[in-house]
């Protein structure tokens, strides 16, 4: 740590750590992230969890990965392809090698390339010897053995000593990118307070890795990625699931209403339940229901009784909730439904991301059943939309579907921590008793009916899923009334358009081509368009966070461009909506591979269509 060496300064770098589920790759990745963030880098990360809880050690399905993009400029994605890949065993190599960029740096734990492990990874021959890794700069290190030696003095059993090898690898990479180890060393002390031997071993291992890289000079070059010019302030790293949970709690505080969360565990939405369950001191009421139907129904009951009512799940759970969502539409109660989308259809690929539930959100219910649909664009935006969804739901007495996805949910980026004073307050009023109280009287501006909460004398009334008579709310089978109510429900949602921001165009506004997307693809699109602009290619972008209703200026924006490319991770759902609504010819870009859009693919496609 003393020797000063020359380093190549990079604007940014992408590292992926990968190994067996038991190898601690998520931990390694997050330590590197924290350290880099503290150094002032902009960061974006994305974990790649195995589908199995703990698939047999050494097999491909058991591989766990963590990718970090860190930069001295602001960045918006975890990056397409890593430039550095750390592979702790053959299975990890197998699952990840094809992603490493041409000529990238490959750090492998050679000790793990035993016959048994090669077989478990279903390798016919050793890839380190058969030419498979020729295109890369390969750094071969017997990490297991070196770790064992480093921690020998602690007297740890072999199995526990083994567990330290991720810190050895981290030490190597810290050296490679000139990172200070102190934060991690502090973390180790705190974490293993009660197991001094393990703390010592991890510390020794980390330092040994760093020193090994330093002294053996295995790296012909090493790098530094300077701090980014980020706005001043206090930051933390945040995933979409964390951000959205905080947004919901903020909505509760701002509106002074209890937050009720009804949910049933499902990947990748479960963490929202876990986050909120830990916030009892904010008065949050979480309810783990027996299934998704009960979860949404309990939320509707809570909404009726005056809570900010939330339910959350992933695609298959939305199927189950759809009948009850319609009840909320019919009874005109505020309700927020969070869908953390995953790759479908059916059970699909639960741990993979996709944007394919948009049309389900729009139309997945019997009858004409309009509701509001929003989709945050980045992990930290999830915070804002947690608040915004409740603002709209309560103001218009309408259900709102929030479309997040596996990428936003688990992807992380720095979040400039807002001061609570800077947040908007929003007032949510229960209506007061008045005579005659009519349950389906409406606010002339928003068309919202009043929120008449049990406990208020004089507001006793009955609601339900049968069609209601205008104003009185009595059950009605009258044809004309049904038509009227059908249009009220639609118009109420349409009027939300006047309450939301307009669609903004970024990039080269005067271009002929506009690229639109929605939700989590924003980072990739922004990066691709910025890069094209920097390279003198004229192209503009516009990103939908509001899908229903669309912002009021949508048609005007779209019609300004000769060509509208619609990019999304599905077979064309926003594309269909734009055409269905505005009759505008579009050029779709679709990639349905259970992963975020790659900037490079976008770049190629857009260039072709300029």
């Amino acid at each position: 740590m003393t020797k000063t060496i020359d380093r190549t300064v990079l604007e940014n770098a992408i590292i992926r750590f990968c190994g067996d589920s038991g190898d601690g790759m998520q931990l390694t990745g997050s330590q590197f992230t924290t350290t880099s963030a503290n150094l002032g880098n902009d960061i974006a990360t994305f974990p790649d969890f195995p589908a199995e809880i703990r698939a047999p050690a050494g097999t491909v399905p058991g591989v766990s990965g963590f990718q970090i993009h860190f930069s001295s400029r602001d960045i918006h994605t975890p990056g397409d392809q890593p430039s550095v890949l750390v592979a702790m065993n053959p299975a990890a190599l197998k699952a990840n090698l094809s992603d490493l960029e041409q000529g990238g740096l490959l750090i492998v734990n050679t000790d793990a390339f035993s016959k048994v492990n090669l077989k478990k990874a279903e390798y016919e021959s050793n890839p380190l010897e058969d030419g498979s890794v020729e295109r890369f700069r390969v750094i071969r290190i017997p990490i297991t053995e070196l770790t064992h030696r480093a921690v020998a003095e602690t007297g740890l059993a072999k199995k526990e000593a083994d567990r330290c090898k991720n810190f050895f690898a981290l030490g190597i990479v810290y050296y490679l990118f000139d990172r200070d180890m102190n934060l991690t060393l502090e973390w180790i002390e705190k974490k293993f307070k009660k197991r001094a031997d393990i703390a010592a071993a991890n510390r020794l291992s980390l330092i040994a890795g760093y020193n090994y890289a330093d002294t053996t000079e295995i790296f012909t070059t090493s790098y530094s990625v300077p701090a980014a010019a980020l706005p001043k302030g206090k930051y933390r790293s945040i995933t979409g699931n964390q951000a959205i949970a905080m947004g919901f709690v903020a909505a509760s505080k701002l509106s002074d209403r209890t937050l009720f969360y009804g949910s049933y565990p499902i990947t990748p939405a479960s963490d929202v339940l876990h986050e909120l369950a830990a916030l009892r001191h904010f008065g949050v009421k979480t309810f783990q229901a027996e299934d998704e139907i009960a979860a949404v129904c309990a939320a509707i009951g809570a909404s009726f009784a005056g809570c900010l009512a939330l339910t959350g799940t992933s695609g298959p759970g939305i199927c189950l909730k759809s009948e009850a969502i319609n009840l909320a539409i019919m009874t005109e109660l505020p309700l927020v439904i969070l869908n953390v989308q995953r790759a479908g259809p059916s059970t699909g690929m639960p741990t993979k991301t996709e944007q394919s539930d948009l049309l389900q959100a729009m139309y997945g219910r019997n009858g004409d059943s309009p509701l509001v649909v929003m989709a945050p664009a980045t992990p930290s935006e999830c915070f804002h939309y947690g608040i915004e969804a409740f603002r709209i739901a309560t103001k218009f007495m309408v259900p709102v579907i929030l479309l997040s996805d596996g990428f936003l949910a688990n992807g992380a980026e720095p979040w400039a921590i807002p001061s609570s004073d800077s947040l908007p307050t929003f007032n949510v009023q229960n209506i007061a008793a008045h005579a005659p109280y009519q349950p389906f009287e409406r606010d002339p501006e928003t068309l919202a009916r009043g929120w008449a909460v049990p406990g208020t004398a004089g507001l006793e009334h009955r609601i339900g899923g049968l069609e209601k008579a205008d104003i009185t709310g009595n059950v009605s089978y009258d044809p004309i009334n049904h038509e009227k109510m059908t249009y009220y429900r639609a118009e109420k949602v349409a009027r939300v358009a006047h309450d939301i921001p307009q669609l903004e165009v970024y990039g080269d506004q005067d271009a002929d081509t506009l690229v639109v997307g929605w939700g989590s693809t924003y980072g990739s699109l922004l990066t691709a368009i910025n890069a094209l602009n920097s390279n003198g290619k004229s192209v503009a972008g516009a990103h939908f966070r509001y899908l229903n209703p669309f912002p009021v200026n949508t048609e005007a924006v779209l019609r300004q461009y000769k060509r509208v490319i619609v990019a999304e991770i599905n077979t064309g759902q926003l594309d269909f909506m734009i055409k269905g609504k505005y009759n505008i010819a579009t050029t779709p870009f679709q990639c349905v591979q259970g992963k975020p859009l790659y900037v490079s693919d976008l770049d190629k496609f857009i260039r072709l269509h300029l």
């Binding site: 049990p454 004398a457 006793e460 009955r462």
Partner: protein
């Protein structure tokens, strides 16, 4: 606004025309509930009736309280949300044998084991009324209906046994032709803290006319029913000459001998001997046994909502009044300067 003490039955009658078939048992149940309400000492605005879908589930429309006619089978979940949101409300749930035991069976199990303080009234007419007469989970095997012209193949379930297996803390049965018994049962249910489950034998005059007559008709009632009373022995018959005995591993009925308290004659106690005794009672089915009505079981167990509120209180005490800022800044942060 409304003074609960001065409320009358008619204060609980809404302005909606009651639309059940003439002669339907639901009328008597509605009347019983409306007359019990003033005795609860709860202001109208603090009472909520939640129902699913079915003839019985139209019930909330006829009560001048807060009401929610929800969707088929889901009333337990919805009612749970209402109660957790505001534990001060008196929440009543109305369901049918189809709504509560067919499509909604699972929600019923789970509300019962959670012990949310809600009063559940299950109108058992052993048929789907609203959809015009198909067999339900409580219909007798062999019942001929439009969907089972050759006879239903399904073995019925007993709502009381399901409730007990679901760890319900209060379980009772009553019937639509006995206003007094309904009143007492509903009051006991209301008094109980925790989920109260009440099965009501109800006559559907259109699709399953007089199905309970062999049990509760005035002529046979004394021989075919047992009215459970705490502290009273399980005797029945017009002259109280028949008793229910436990014979080791099952139950039998036989004539009482001369002695006053013959060995093995069971004495009712709804508060003790759970889980064994209520299960024995629940397994008494007609025609082998007289049908028990009254309170089968009542045990005290903390309610779900009280435990939830307690967790919130404890957390607040432990962590102090939290601010959003403290939440935002929890975990590792760094400064860009």
């Amino acid at each position: 606004m409304t003074e609960s003490t001065t409320l009358k039955k008619k204060d609980f009658q809404s302005d909606q025309i009651v639309r059940w078939c003439p002669g339907c048992g639901d009328y008597a149940i509605l009347s019983a509930i409306q007359s019990v309400m003033p005795d609860l000492g709860v202001a109208k605005e603090n009472i909520v009736f939640v129902s699913g879908i079915g003839c019985s589930s139209r019930f909330p429309y006829y009560m001048d309280t807060f009401g929610f006619h929800t969707i088929h089978g889901r009333a337990p979940a919805l009612a749970t949300g209402v109660k957790l949101a505001n534990p001060d409300l008196s929440v009543w749930m109305i369901t049918g044998d189809g709504d509560g035991l067919s499509i909604g069976g699972n929600h019923l199990i789970h509300i019962l084991r959670r012990n949310v303080d809600i009063n559940i009234l299950l109108f058992n007419n052993k048929v789907y009324g609203l959809t015009k007469g198909q067999y339900s989970p409580t219909s007798d095997q062999g019942m001929k209906t439009k969907s089972s012209p050759d006879g239903s193949l399904e073995y019925p379930i007993n709502p009381i046994r399901i409730a007990l297996a679901s760890e319900a803390s209060f379980v009772a049965r009553t019937y639509d032709t006995n206003i007094k018994h309904m009143n007492e049962t509903f009051k006991a249910a209301a008094e109980h803290k925790g989920t109260s489950f009440v099965e009501i034998l109800q006559n559907c005059v259109i699709f399953n006319k007089d199905i309970f007559n062999e049990v509760y008709d005035k002529d046979v009632r004394q021989d075919h029913m047992i009215h459970l009373e705490d502290g009273e022995p399980l005797v029945f018959g017009s002259e109280k000459k028949q008793g229910v005995f436990f014979d080791g591993v099952s139950m039998v009925t036989r004539a009482l001998e001369e002695e006053n308290s013959p060995a093995g004659l069971m004495v009712h106690d709804s508060r003790k001997h759970a889980p064994f005794y209520p299960n024995l009672l629940a397994s008494m089915e007609f025609p082998q046994f007289p049908v028990p009505v009254g309170v089968f079981k009542r045990v005290e167990r903390p309610t779900y909502e009280s435990m939830l509120c307690k967790q919130i209180d404890v957390a607040k005490q432990k962590k102090g009044t939290p601010t959003l800022d403290s939440l935002f800044q929890a975990g590792e942060t760094w400064n860009i300067v």
